[in-house]
Each structure stands twice: as structure tokens, then as C-alpha cells.
Symmetry: C2
């Protein structure tokens, strides 16, 4: 079994096998992961995707670690039932607290959003001061800090920004309140001379225009973009194939009235009515590596 340097798990024979037609599984606690799915679809237009948003139990950010792990296991088991070849954990909270365990338990490769973003931030900073913003759970886990400092003598300044998720879901992407909130959160990070800011939450990429306008000298790292690049490495290079319109099946654990509106904002395209799969019907056990 060979290890591709930096990916953190064995690739087995995926990169020498012929094109594997099975879909790629993606899950998140809700709709934020659609901003990751958007990059996955852009990067791999020939692939099929199955997305599960656990909207009945969102947000995971305030749950205990044990609860998050058990939810992540159920979401993964659901995706495995759809015969996925790779699972992308498009959720920072799950990536922070449950990734190692999922990798041990699941029979397919699993990637999260934190390592790819950390690697990109480390390679792009000049000041060696990197800012990280995310939900309280993500920041408290210090997962980004640990992942970034593995890449050298770097200083990480992080801050939990719980108001930014509801701000994005409200659609206030650039109002007076938006700027007041961002200013309040980022003031101490800017004071530390950061030149790179990791958007450590899948909702935050929608604030890219206002952030760029407010802090033109700070480079923004969108975890979805770099996670998609890593996923493409794993499923192999099929650039010679005709790109098609990627097919995606979207499942949610609870129907919410504003899903289509908010989801289309995240995905950057119109979204069909999702299929509702109740929590009770989610499988509870996952395959183990044989």
C-alpha cells in the first residue's frame, strides 16, 4: 500500500485503477457544505455526487464531541448505502472532531476540509501570521492551529464568529450590520498583521466580496476550493474525458421552507427539491475495513 505524501491516508490502488463510476459522497450538518460541493462539481464535472445535509440536527457546532461523532457515523453509513467511492466531510465541526475515527471505521477514503485549507494557508503566507475564523466548536477544537503549525514556524490567530452563519443565512451579505459584525470580529486578527485568513466554515465563502472589499491585502483561503483539489487527486485525473453536467442527488433529514433559496445561493445554481430522509431511517452502523 503506498501513501501519497501529505494526504494522511493510504491511496490503495485508486490512482491506477480505471475510472470508477461510483459517485462521490458529501455530507454536512446542513446546507453550508453545498459551498464545498460547488467546488467539487467545478473541479470534477465528469463525476456523480450524493449530498446529505443533516438539516434536522443542524447545527453540530454546539453539540458534544460524542454526539457529533455519532451523527457523522450515521451520515457516512447513509452515503455508503449509496455505494460511494470517497466521502468528503464538507463540515468543519465533523472534520475537527471525528475525521480520524471515520477514517479508521470506513471502507472508503475520507477527506475533511481542514487539512487542505491549512496546507494552502501555510504555503501562501508571507508574514507568517495566519488568521482563522470559524464556529465556536471548530475554533475551540484548535484543529486548524494544529494542522497549520505542522507546516512550519507559523503564528495562528483564531476567533470564533458565531454570528456569521446566521448572517449569511439571512442573506445580509453586505449591509451596515454585516460590516459592523465583521469589523468587531476581525479587529484583533488584523492587529496581529495577518496576511492570510482561513474561512474555516463552509458558510463564510459567501462573504468573500465584502471581506475582500474591507481587507484587500488579506488573502482568503476557501476550504472548499482546496478540498476539491485534494478529492480530484484521489479519484484520479480524468481531464481527457468529455466534461458532462455533473449529476447530484441532494438529501436532507428535514424539509425547511427556505432550503431551495438558501441552497441555490451556496451552490451558485438553481437547486431541485431535495429528497427528505428521516433521521430514524438513517443506518446506524458502518462497514468496517475488512
Amino acid at each position: 500500500m503506498k501513501l501519497r505524501r501529505g494526504l494522511g491516508f493510504p491511496l490503495r490502488n485508486f490512482d491506477v485503477m480505471p475510472r470508477d463510476s461510483r459517485p462521490i459522497g458529501v455530507f454536512d450538518s446542513g446546507i453550508g457544505g453545498l459551498s464545498v460541493l460547488k467546488h467539487l462539481m467545478q473541479t470534477m464535472p465528469h463525476e456523480r455526487f450524493v449530498y446529505l445535509g443533516d438539516t434536522a440536527r443542524v447545527p453540530y457546532g454546539n453539540r458534544s464531541t460524542e454526539t457529533v461523532k455519532s451523527y457523522a457515523r450515521q451520515c457516512s453509513a447513509f452515503l455508503l448505502q449509496h455505494d460511494v467511492k470517497l466521502i468528503v466531510v464538507a463540515c468543519n465541526t465533523v472534520s475537527a472532531v471525528a475525521l480520524d475515527e471515520l477514517r479508521k471505521e470506513l471502507s472508503v477514503p475520507v477527506i475533511g476540509v481542514i487539512e487542505p485549507a491549512a496546507r494552502e494557508a501555510a504555503s501562501s503566507t508571507s508574514s507568517r501570521h495566519i488568521g482563522v475564523i470559524g464556529t465556536r466548536a471548530t475554533i475551540n477544537s484548535e484543529a486548524y492551529t494544529h494542522a497549520i503549525i505542522q507546516h512550519g514556524d507559523l503564528h495562528v490567530h483564531s476567533r470564533a464568529c458565531p454570528l456569521l452563519v446566521p448572517l449569511v443565512e439571512e442573506g445580509w451579505l453586505d449591509t451596515a450590520a454585516t460590516r459592523a459584525i465583521i469589523e468587531e470580529y476581525l479587529r484583533p486578527l488584523i492587529a496581529q498583521q495577518i496576511d492570510t485568513l482561513v474561512l474555516g466554515c463552509t458558510h463564510y465563502p459567501l462573504l468573500t466580496p465584502v471581506l475582500t472589499d474591507m481587507y484587500p491585502d488579506v488573502r482568503l483561503v476557501d476550504c472548499g476550493q482546496w478540498t476539491a483539489a485534494e478529492a480530484a487527486l484521489i479519484v484520479g485525473d480524468h481531464a481527457d474525458e468529455q466534461p458532462s453536467i455533473p449529476m447530484v442527488d441532494i438529501y436532507v433529514t428535514d424539509a425547511t421552507p427556505t432550503f431551495n433559496l438558501v441552497a441555490s445561493r451556496f451552490l451558485g445554481m438553481p437547486v431541485n427539491e431535495p429528497v427528505v430522509v428521516t433521521i430514524d431511517s438513517l443506518p446506524t452502523s458502518v462497514e468496517r475495513i475488512s
Copy 2:
């Protein structure tokens, strides 16, 4: 069976019976209901209380009606196991969508937070223009509008304010961002000449100081205060008894790291570590009226 005017359900013999030593049950989707519990404890210092915060499934505001009803049924069943004599639904979302059903199904009186606040707002307005703010689910249900216009020829101007809950939980009770957010939400209501504003969410009373400062001519209606007054009517007048320190047992469905800090802010006093009762162990069926 006699009906006390305006309460909307039969009182049976509760008001002529000797003091009933059973506790009063209170539930909410999370911690917001503690602002209602605070008023209940102040109004009835001789009573015992059992509080359940469904922190594992908060917030209810984005769930479907069927899901909210099923959660409310489970919370009520848990309280009935503690032999409560009255259930106070200290949650606007549940009060808006599930109150009638709970009243039909449960063997004890059930009161919500909407009717008492609506009655108070209707009796206190001079301009006949009343503002209502709440979560998206509460406002979309139009429960406050329907409840208020039953009391006369009144104009209700309502607005969903999804950012205010995370704002309060963040503890930003009076910052530049707080004022920018409130200004953005309330501008259209103020333009309608409201003289009364119903705080239709149990988190909002913590914003009373900043709201009073920004809009000194608008009377604020805190649903907790008027719900407590109604609860006191139901359990009977025991003002002749020596007031004691009220006893309260607090249960939550998930332990959250910041519970004690946020809860003490809501309750206005220090809070002991709550007892965690997992969702799986909640009862699923409720007693029916025999």
C-alpha cells in the same frame, strides 16, 4: 367544567383545590425558556419547577411543523414523568404550532407564551399599531397576529429577526453591531408608528436595555412576564404562604460547554450543572385525558 374567560381551556377544579405540592413543568427548545422560568420563579416563589431544555435539537425554529410537534410531545411526556401539575411551553415556536394539540393530548393544563403576551400588547397600545419580532418560524406562523387581532381593531406589524438569538448568545448585548442589527430589523416597524413591541422570542428580553435606550417611546412586552402571571392564576393564589427559595431541577438533552454561563445570564442568577437526559431516553408517548 367552567372556563376562565380568556385562558382558552377549562380550569377544572384547580382554583378551589388546596395547595397542590406537585412541581410546575417548563420546557423550551434550549436555554431561552430560562427567561420565562425567571419570571415564573419570581411570581411564584413557593412553587417547585422542573425545566427541560432540548439543547440537543435546538433550534426548533427551522424544523418542519410535524417535527416540532413530535419534539414537543416528547418534552411534555418527560415532564409528566416528573408528575407536574401544569406545563408551561416556554418556547414561541412550540406555542405557535403545537399548543392546541398538546392541550388535547395532555392530562394537565398547558399554557404557552403567545396568548398572554398578545393580550397584554392589545390592552396597552394607544396607537393601535403593535410590532412583533421573533424567529422566522414564529413570525411565519402568524400566531401573534391572530392572537392580537382577536382583541380588537388592531394593526400588527411583524418581522422575523433570525440574527437576534445568536447575538444574545454571543453576549453582544450592546455593541455597535448590536445597534446596527436592531436598527436594520426595526426600521420598517418604527415607520409604522408602533407604540408597543412584543418580544416574541424568549432570548429577546436580554436586549431590553438597548431597545429601551434606542426606542424610549415604545413599550416592550416580555412574554415571560405575562405567561408567569397566567400560570399563577392557574395554580392558585398562595400569597398567604411564606415565600421560600423556589426549587428548580434543570435538565438538558445535550451538555454544551457554555451552558452555565449563558443560562445564568437568562435566569439572572447562578445556575448549577444541569442533568443530561439523552434524547433516546425521552419517553415517546404521553398520557391521554381519561
